[in-house]
Symmetry: C2
Subunit: 248 residues, 2 copies
Amino acid sequence: MAAKRSGARSKRSRPIDAGLQPAPPPHSETPLSLGRIVATAVELLDDRGVDGLTMRRLADRLGSGVMSLYWHVDNKADVCDLALDSVLEYRGPPQVGESRDWRGDVAHMLEDWRAAMLRHPWSASLLPGRALGPNILGRLELLGESLSRAGVADAEMNVAIWSLWNYVMGATITRTSFDLSDDDRAAGQQRLSRFSERYPTIERSRLLLDDDWGGAFTKGLDFLLDGLGPGRARPDVSAAGPGRPRSA
Amino acid sequence: MAAKRSGARSKRSRPIDAGLQPAPPPHSETPLSLGRIVATAVELLDDRGVDGLTMRRLADRLGSGVMSLYWHVDNKADVCDLALDSVLEYRGPPQVGESRDWRGDVAHMLEDWRAAMLRHPWSASLLPGRALGPNILGRLELLGESLSRAGVADAEMNVAIWSLWNYVMGATITRTSFDLSDDDRAAGQQRLSRFSERYPTIERSRLLLDDDWGGAFTKGLDFLLDGLGPGRARPDVSAAGPGRPRSA
DNA sequence: ACCTGAACACCGTTCAAGT
DNA sequence: ACCTGAACACCGTTCAAGT
């Protein structure tokens, strides 16, 4: 279920990054194409969520028979992979000249990534289990490039990249999963209150009602970047607290 | 799909934390019970993953008809919620006396949480989308209690708790999703190499082959705790780097 | 090269009964 | 109070055919 897609597996050979072509069918709209299939899958996912994506429904929207899809596509997992990656394109940091600051670039890309997944709430929970498409790989490459510019050593690069990935994915998956219904959250908090002797702290802080996901995201990200980026001259404070020793 | 379960919804009223009872059926093994259903669901999930859990298969393993389950349980989502929470019990930090250090307590609980989810690889990706059971709420309460002991202000409590939740969930979901097959990861890295001109940095660091998930987890967690815990007297370094200003 | 319908082996859940 | 089988409205995918 993880990083699949070793090469072109479908009957038709496929360019590496077949995402959304600008405007696939020039005339009416009848002919099926990979581009149309993927774009319609995204629409369907946006409308009805992950459980709403069905080969039959997808074919219906496209005005074709179900089995026609299978000439363009291997199976449903294939559709998911393509829909996912098509939604994660990144146009790069706003300023491309010199004097780019690594931290700004990283923060911009990660916030943009998060925003894209929030626009397509099904995407976040899908991403960790699916193949890594070119757009996601591009974002990871950009991350590595920025961190390298920041002076992160090769040996620590993967840890740094995965820490940031973990944080972004965790934040976004939680956000999109929790946010589906505010009533449910209210009900949860109410239930919490009923057992307030059991959960006094989180009941008092009204944990389940907290709304500032964006703020929490940026703040935690800042802490992570503080720790990951060696560019920041931070004095050794190893004697100041009970934390475990930290290397360099 | 989020924090459901406002109260007892099934036909039979249910104690609040009906998890795994020690040994539900004293004699043979025939009588159905909520405890047996949940325990068997966990077995099934461990054996065949999330897609392997089916009401029919579950009934088969229990030696009953499918519809018999529905007297004890509302629906399949109910089964998932109960299985999930039953797997996330926490026995508390090793040392319960005085002189407990908040950071050790937090780290212990989070590592234990992660370990529990790694033992049941289906659980991590299920958790964000499901109702929060008593065991998960207990862990969050303990987190809040420890952070409060550390001096985290009430106003910043939720941000701190959610940051840690996000990090743990992101790390564990990624780990369990990626780890399903090493061949796939190898194939992914190979594919990366084929396009090395496109992804030079992460190809060089061999990102998709990196194995030290545990190390990455602890390291990132340390950074987060460095930032979250105000107990640590950290000098103001706001002029030392390009980072955005940080409050307090 | 591209599309199709019939068929297979599954799903979760409702309903009306049984004991 | 507890369990059941038949039936409904769905799934993804194989296969053998059509153009």
